[in-house]
């Protein structure tokens, strides 16, 4: 099994750290992983995206131009990545801030109101709500491996926040909506 994912949004949304937690969770289930970021010089506000690959085999290119899954968190990323989802793949997005919704009919399209849901828990858990939504549709890593992945990727001083993050993941799992299925 190989899953090629692009996660794209604004810097500061937790795009890169979501990718890192996914990658660590992959390691926890003994997979090969790669995490390839692309971002500008800004700390916040610029576009940020990360290609994450989880695979049972050796990973060839960490740089891709088509993906099994695109997780899209702003309009610019929607414009760029909708066309790069493989036929039969998945496009997951937060409709908040999206004015041009995806039009493709040959891919599964799912939405998660992550900004809204995260605000009810803690705004900083936004990316975990999105990750929960993704894992509900594509359960590529097991929940206990995510737990171990969170433990590995977060510094120890933040370990008390793991239950909060897991609550956010479950919230995402519960609230994801499939708009179009292939």
């Amino acid at each position: 099994m190989t899953e090629e994912i692009i996660i794209a949004g604004f810097g500061g949304q937790g795009v890169l750290s979501m990718g890192k937690i996914l990658a660590y969770s992959g390691i926890m289930q003994d997979q090969e992983v790669s995490w390839m970021p692309s971002y500008g010089p800004e700390m916040r506000g610029g576009t940020a995206n990360v290609t994450v690959i989880l695979s049972d085999d050796r990973i060839n290119s960490p740089i891709l131009n088509e993906f099994d899954t695109a997780i899209v968190l702003n309009q610019q990323s929607m414009d760029k990545f909708e066309s790069m989802v493989k036929p039969g793949g998945l496009l997951l997005y937060d409709p908040n801030g999206i004015s041009h919704h995806p039009k493709r009919k040959d891919i599964t399209i799912a939405t998660i109101e992550a900004v809204k849901e995260a605000t009810l828990i803690n705004r900083k858990t936004f990316n975990m709500v999105v990750m929960g939504a993704f894992l509900k549709v594509h359960p590529i890593v097991k929940m206990d491996n995510i737990h171990r992945g969170l433990k590995k990727s977060l510094p120890e001083r933040h370990h008390h926040l793991i239950p909060l993050n897991e609550e956010a993941i479950k919230k995402g799992m519960a609230k994801v909506q499939i708009i179009h299925k292939v």
């Binding site: 390839m36 970021p37 010089p41 060839n60 290119s61």
Partner: protein, 362 residues
């Protein structure tokens, strides 16, 4: 899974330096390799092994600190990215001339000049054809995974001391910045002063005992006859490196009708191209030089007997292609595909280029 970590290439290289028993690291920050010195500063290896880490006032200062430490027989490393390496070249030539072992990492970005902070491979000529002045060679290792970023540190030090020659790890911003799973090597003990004297006392400036003449480390020789003899000695050493240290990986070359040649990030992309091509019935292979100097000429020449042609895939305007052409020696057509200025070719871009070349060959 005790020592499996998810690390950036730059971080893996820094941790590997501590574990390789390095005595010192001198550097100056520059994107996209600043994580090397950041990691070392954060990790405080002085508390772990006694390794010294210092941010120099400039790249020029850093390479000359490396010169000084290497002259004392120490395992010493520096790293930078393209513009910073240009600044270090004087020192690198001096070290090659003085036969000093050291490890230099170049995490390349797009150029020329300050260029961009995105990945590039346009320092190939600089790394393998000299860069600095004079007839000298660096042993150049090209990692294409985060694991190799870690593994080539100890290998680099070993080769540097085996041949008393600077070794360069030629990486790029993509491999420096990406994270992959990495198995870290065991901690090697740093050599004690006594061990340094025993191993390298014949040439290093470790203090003159009564039993021998003083050791002099210099690249200056005003007598031309002596300097020419020194050059003969260097050339003999380089020949021996060419005979013994060529490393490469041949991926699906056995039945390949068309072969890509690529290193580093480009080699990773080409592995995907093999998969995409073979799905379409194109028998593609990849020859990945691991040592860019010495260059794996013989295997490429041999593959030219069975391959219809070669495509040198590089993130530059066509540099390694010259070495591929020399290796192929007219036996088969050799073409180049590349992107520049920080642009990274996508696997499908490369496949289109391969298909175009195959059409030309017929």
């Amino acid at each position: 899974m005790e020592d499996v970590k998810l690390m950036k290439g730059n971080e893996a290289m820094a941790e590997a330096a501590i574990r390789a028993g390095a005595d010192a690291y001198f550097g100056y920050p520059i994107t996209p390799q600043s994580e090397v010195i950041e990691y070392l500063m954060m990790e405080k290896p002085e508390n772990r092994t006694g390794m010294q880490v210092l941010q120099a006032e400039s790249e020029v200062a850093a390479i000359n600190m490396v010169y000084g430490a290497a002259a004392c027989g120490k395992r010493v490393m520096t790293s930078s990215s393209s513009p910073g390496i240009s600044l270090k070249l004087e020192g690198i030539s001096y070290m090659a001339g003085s036969e000093l072992p050291c490890l230099i990492a170049n995490v390349m970005r797009g150029g020329p000049g300050l260029g961009t902070i995105q990945p590039g491979q346009a320092d190939y000529f600089q790394a393998v054809k000299g860069g600095g002045h004079g007839d000298y060679r660096l042993i150049v290792l090209a990692p294409s995974t985060v694991q190799e970023m870690a593994d080539f540190v100890d290998l680099g030090f070993e080769l540097a001391f085996k041949y008393r020659n600077p070794v360069m790890i030629l990486s790029d911003g993509a491999i420096g910045q990406m994270m992959e799973k990495v198995f870290l090597p065991d901690q090697k003990e740093r050599l004690t002063d006594k061990e340094v004297i025993n191993k390298y006392g014949s040439w290093a400036t470790t203090g003159k005992p009564e039993s021998r003449e003083r050791n002099i480390i210099t690249s200056l020789n005003l007598k031309s006859e002596v300097q020419e003899n020194h050059n003969f000695h260097l050339q003999k050493k380089y020949k021996s490196i060419e005979e013994n240290e060529i490393r490469y990986e041949a991926i699906q070359c056995d039945d390949a009708e068309y072969i890509m040649v690529a290193f580093g990030t480009s080699a990773r992309i080409c592995q995907k191209v093999i998969q995409l091509g073979r799905d379409k019935g194109l028998k593609l292979g990849l020859l990945r030089p691991i040592t860019l100097w010495p260059f794996p000429k013989q295997i490429i020449n041999k593959l030219a007997d069975t391959s219809k042609g070669f495509l040198s895939v590089e993130m530059n305007a066509g540099q390694m292609i010259e070495d591929v052409q020399l290796a192929v020696n007219g036996k088969a057509p050799v073409s180049h595909y590349g992107r520049m200025g920080g642009m990274i070719p996508s696997p499908s871009d490369v496949l289109v280029a391969v298909e175009k070349e195959l059409k030309k060959i017929g």
